[in-house]
């Protein structure tokens, strides 16, 4: 056991000493923090409203169109006037042209943008405005219905809730589906990334012929277990650092520019009413809030500490199993050229289980899900796919036990392969 700890210590320290480890450890949180902050900063920078010249030959929209925080409409008498103004005035961004209608209801509108292609956000906002105004006009002129009345009717919906028959609690099926998919994808990604690290480590020992020296001191199985565990420890350290540093970076950004994020939040809320007014905007906002609430309630209803613990357990078991097999493969292969094909073949159970996500989520307690949970090569993904929906403790225990047994067998196989192909 002491020798295994010596190997673990070496593998761990070696990885922590590599510049690449720290570059990646610092870079990933910075990237994640940037992913979080850049849209907010970009939105803030684009806070200047776009100026759109309106040429409405139908006279249907001009009377009721009003400027918003993000788009200022200026009515123009003709398209030629508007073109001239666009050419002369740098502050004008686009021309919105609604041609004379051939039918009762106009069918087309054109947005001429200064830079060729208008930003998607501006397109969306102008489009929303036109759709709402057109609908309101049709409601009033054709059907003699007040738009506010129409919207009251439209927003009267029945929400079907899925509930557990025994506890009577909401099932939050959508939230759980998203969570199961994300967890499974994360598991596959983590197993591939860290499994490949073990493989590279073995390839290095094989290439430098150190294996012969080490194997004359320790049993191959000790070498394998120490190597796999050392890389696992480095992987877990990196994951923990990623989580902590990402949280710290986001916290720092929020602390440094609190008004920016408050503005962004209020802009998001306001964006719901971009093309609507008064009661209609309020009603749309009111319908959006319950969706967010439901997601939060769904997350609350899921036992997150249990999910996190089982994710960690099955990541560890999956990593040990696949890490050992990849190490055995690395010992066996003589050229890098063959490696990719064999790695893909070895990892295919994980990828196939990921592809089967829709079928498993359709029946988390079904036969397919049960079999995939029991098979050690597919269990790390299948357990996480089933976890948010509730999985029996017996199934989890059996999966963990079978994976532990499979790891033992894989470690022995890897050790034998190591001894035979590295030094034999």
């Amino acid at each position: 056991m002491k020798k295994i700890f010596v190997i673990i210590s070496r593998e761990y320290r070696l990885r922590l000493r590599r510049p690449a480890f720290w570059v990646l450890t610092l870079l990933v949180p910075l990237l994640l923090a940037a992913l979080y902050a850049i849209p907010v900063i970009a939105a803030h920078r684009n806070a200047e409203p776009a100026v759109v010249l309106l040429v409405d030959e139908t006279d249907l929209f001009r009377p009721s169109i009003t400027s918003t925080e993000s788009v200022t409409y200026i009515a123009m008498p003709t398209l030629d006037h508007a073109r001239q103004r666009l050419a002369d005035d740098e502050g004008v961004d686009a021309i919105l042209h609604i041609p004379q209608r051939q039918t009762t209801i106009p069918r087309d509108a054109f947005l001429y943008h200064r830079d060729g292609t208008p930003p998607p956000a501006l397109m969306r906002q102008v489009d929303n405005t036109l759709q709402v105004l057109l609908r309101n006009a049709v409601l009033e002129d054709v059907y003699q219905v007040e738009p506010s009345v129409y919207h009251s009717v439209e927003s009267t919906t029945l929400h079907l809730h899925a509930r557990d028959a025994l506890s009577g609690r909401d099932s939050f099926a959508e939230v759980k589906t998203v969570m199961a998919t994300v967890l499974a994808a994360l598991m596959v990604l983590a197993l591939i990334v860290f499994g490949i690290q073990v493989m590279r480590s073995v390839q290095e020992e094989k290439a430098t012929r150190v294996a012969e020296v080490v194997a004359s001191s320790v049993k191959p199985v000790q070498l394998m277990v120490g190597k796999v565990a050392g890389v696992a420890l480095a992987a877990v350290s990196q994951l923990v650092l990623w989580v902590l540093l990402t949280a710290a970076a986001i916290g720092l950004i929020q602390h440094a520019a609190p008004t920016l994020f408050d503005q962004a939040r209020s802009q998001q809320e306001a964006s719901l009413s971009v093309a609507t007014k008064g009661a209609e905007a309020t009603a749309q906002y009111d319908t959006a809030v319950p969706l967010v609430d439901e997601a939060l309630q769904g997350l609350t209803a899921i036992n997150l500490p249990l999910v996190a613990s089982l994710f960690a357990l099955f990541f560890l078991l999956g990593y040990l199993l696949y890490g050992s097999l990849l190490a055995a493969l690395a010992a066996r292969l003589d050229s890098d050229a063959d490696a990719l094909q064999w790695v893909l073949l070895l990892l295919s159970p994980l990828l196939v289980t990921l592809l089967l996500t829709p079928l498993i989520l359709n029946a988390p307690g079904g036969t397919l899900a049960a079999w995939l949970t029991a098979i050690p090569f597919t269990a790390p993904v299948a357990v996480l796919q089933r976890l948010p929906f509730g999985i029996g403790i017996g199934d989890v225990a059996l999966a963990a036990l079978l994976m532990a047994v499979a790891f033992g067998a894989a470690a022995l196989l890897a050790a034998r392969s190591y001894k035979r192909h590295l030094v034999g």
Binding site: V6, V213, A215
Partner: protein
Amino acid sequence: MLLEVQEISKSYGSQRVLDGLSFTADSGEVVGILGANGAGKTTLLRLVTRLLVPDSGTLLFDGHPLCQDDLAQIGYLPEERGLYRHMRAGEQVVYLARLKGLSHRDAEANARQWFDRLGAADWWSRPVSRLSKGMQQKVQFIATVAHSPRLLILDEPFSGFDRDNAALLQREIQRLSADGTAILLSTHNSEAATALCTKTVQL
């Protein structure tokens, strides 16, 4: 008798490499393993380090069948040298000595002593990748002896050394032998073999 090789045979497929080989090596003896390329020298040394398993015959260490625990008392310098390229030289020797069962403190003390003795103290903190081939050979030799083995197995130990360093190594082998270490020496260097070996095994 420290090492007894009794009627050892080993084949690779249909090719018999060792056929009923027997010899002994006692403390302080330097046993030369001689033979042409492919005669089975490296195979024999790998059998003694348990990297390979004999088809038949027995290996006794200190009177009992050679087992995994005995490897702590054996030092092995393989023909194809191997060191971790990104590890520092001193750290690497300490690591390999710890795998032989030494505590960190003893491993470091022994390793520093050997680095001083072979004029390599300045390399202690250098990564192996920054050492010349000859320097790496020296570090590998230190890694082989740092745990004070009772049986030393040297497979072509002089390859890669210049004349001065080969002479230095030869003196150290003689000194180890004088201190009671049993040595199995496989070499093509007949001069060194004649000077060092107390007996030879022809394969």
